[in-house]
């Protein structure tokens, strides 16, 4: 069976070049980067190189990149680290209703510990209004955390404006850049960001590796203590191979930003146009907002998302209903609810997420098979009446 993978916002396969970069690290350059002997120093230099690739991708200094175990840890460290270090200054945090669970549940946890969280709403197009951020700032606000690009609908938040507002108010600004890193240009300096979360496996790097950009001078209490690795920002033996893979993935992503991503955007547009011309009563969520070039969230009236995903899977096509983490859950997506969808509408949504590895044929195959699937499910629906 033909296998088409369109769930890149959940995770991606490694690029062959990334595997090639990692291979020798497993068996030859396998030292512990803290060791002073040859094996250790060689490993350390590999990490230094990777750190440069990451820094370059987002225009940071190498000393500002902290390697971690993934995007979830990056979000946790940013939010818990600031909350803990600033708690004598205040306990108010501003975030949005459409953050990834790694931010959402971390803020909820802090809420239980006595922090106050302002959960900003978003427009029907899935955008936070910077004016709302400004209004929400109080004397005891210690952190603003607004994601760069949303993982479910791909909308890109106006974080440059939010960065300015945060800087004026002298409040730390964290942005979850897990979905944007390597897909759209990022310049942490011009965006006025203090903390930026990244994850390797969304851009053809390995799972279990992430990074947090921490602007020089940012007070951050570590969440993981031990040997004092990563300049005391994060303890634990460095995952050298994973970091090397992340570095290579970042390098390739940066090189591809100008060529690969526009092509991905064209494929995504072709998908949306193709589906819209073959299937009635479908809508693109967040379609009027600036979006990641690779993401398309489509609401199908009179059909349920999981049934669509399973049907597509049986045809070899991998997509998701929302974020992978919550794919076991019956609850409607909090993102779709936040943009004003009813639970019912939210339940009929499909997320297609492409990557630089997506082929034109993959798209055309989906345009070929999905209409029949939707027809079949709609015929089962007690509400659907053919027009």
């Amino acid at each position: 069976m033909r296998r088409v993978y369109l769930d890149s916002n959940a995770t991606t396969p490694l690029r062959p070049e990334v595997v090639a970069a990692m291979m020798p690290v497993f068996t030859e350059h396998f030292g512990n980067a803290s060791s002073i002997h040859w094996f250790g120093q060689h490993a350390k230099s590999l990490i230094d190189d990777a750190r440069q690739h990451l820094a370059k991708l987002i225009n940071a200094e190498t000393a500002e990149i902290v390697f971690l175990s993934g995007g979830t840890e990056a979000d946790n460290l940013a939010i818990r680290g600031i909350a803990e270090s600033q708690k004598s200054a205040g306990r108010h945090i501003i975030t949005s209703q459409i953050e990834h669970h790694a931010v959402l549940h971390t803020c909820k946890d802090l809420e239980k510990q006595g922090y106050e969280i302002t959960w900003l709403p978003v427009s029907h197009d899935g955008l936070v209004n910077p004016a709302d951020v400004r209004k929400a700032i109080r004397k005891d606000t210690i952190l603003i955390s607004i994601m760069h690009a949303n993982n479910e609908i791909g909308t890109i938040q106006p974080i440059d404006e939010i960065g300015k507002i945060a800087a004026e108010a002298d409040v730390y600004f964290h942005s979850d850049g897990v979905q944007s890193t390597g897909k759209i240009p990022v310049n942490v300096k011009s965006l006025g960001i203090d903390l930026y979360s990244m994850s390797a496996h969304k851009i053809h790097g390995p799972k279990g590796v992430g990074a947090l950009f921490v602007k020089k001078g940012t007070a951050l209490k570590p969440t993981m203590t031990g040997g004092g690795h990563e300049r005391n920002r994060r303890s634990g033996t460095e995952n050298v191979a994973g970091i090397v893979g992340f570095g290579e993935a970042a390098r390739r992503a940066r090189e591809g930003l100008m060529q690969d991503m526009p092509r991905v955007g064209q494929l995504r547009d072709r998908l949306e146009a193709g589906l819209q011309s073959h299937i009635e009563l479908i809508h693109v969520n967040g379609g009027n907002a600036p979006r990641l070039p690779n993401t398309s969230n489509i609401m199908v009236d009179y059909a349920e998302g999981e049934g669509l995903v399973i049907s597509l899977d049986l045809k070899g096509v991998a997509v998701s209903t929302g974020s992978a983490c919550s794919s076991g859950s019956l609850e409607p997506s909090h993102v779709l609810t936040a943009i004003g969808k009813t639970p019912d509408e939210a339940h009929g949504s499909l997320r297609f997420s492409l990557s630089t590895m997506t082929a034109l044929e993959d798209i055309d195959y989906v345009i070929e098979v999905l209409p029949g699937i939707v027809d079949r499910l709609r015929e089962l629906s007690p509400y659907y009446k053919k027009v």
Binding site: G305, G307, L314, L330, Y383, Y384
Partner: protein, 118 residues
């Protein structure tokens, strides 16, 4: 795939789909958590279910369990049918993943409701 072959078969080739225009009873139930719905039509005579058909807008587990349960109904007597449980349905389809157990509630609820008057 977390689903059994049998469940997938009932999802892909559901039995007893449709409406019964002159049904003796109709029920429509929805899952309060996800909003998925099932509608069930039956024809009953002599305390026995002569025919049953369903329609559903829901996940694959909802569709498969609804179809299987509807098929079960046909020919059953009403008293027996009332005893059908969600676990029985789920089990007959090879079990359901933990997060999907609630999906078979649609069918068991619809049966209970549609047979209320008999």
């Amino acid at each position: 795939m977390a689903y059994s072959e049998k469940l997938l078969d009932y999802f892909q080739n559901p039995r007893c789909v449709g409406e019964i225009p002159d049904a003796d009873a109709v029920a429509e139930v929805s899952n309060p958590v996800c909003g998925d719905v099932m509608k069930l039509w039956v024809k009953v005579s002599d305390g026995r279910i002569q025919d049953a058909k369903f329609k559903a807008q829901g996940c694959s587990a909802a569709i498969a369990t609804s179809s299987y349960a509807t098929e079960m109904l046909v020919g059953m007597n009403v008293t027996e049918a009332r005893l059908i449980t969600k676990d029985q349905i789920a089990k007959a389809l090879g079990g359901l993943p933990a997060s999907k157990i609630h999906c078979s509630v649609l069918a068991s609820d619809a049966i209970k409701q549609v047979l209320q008057g008999f």
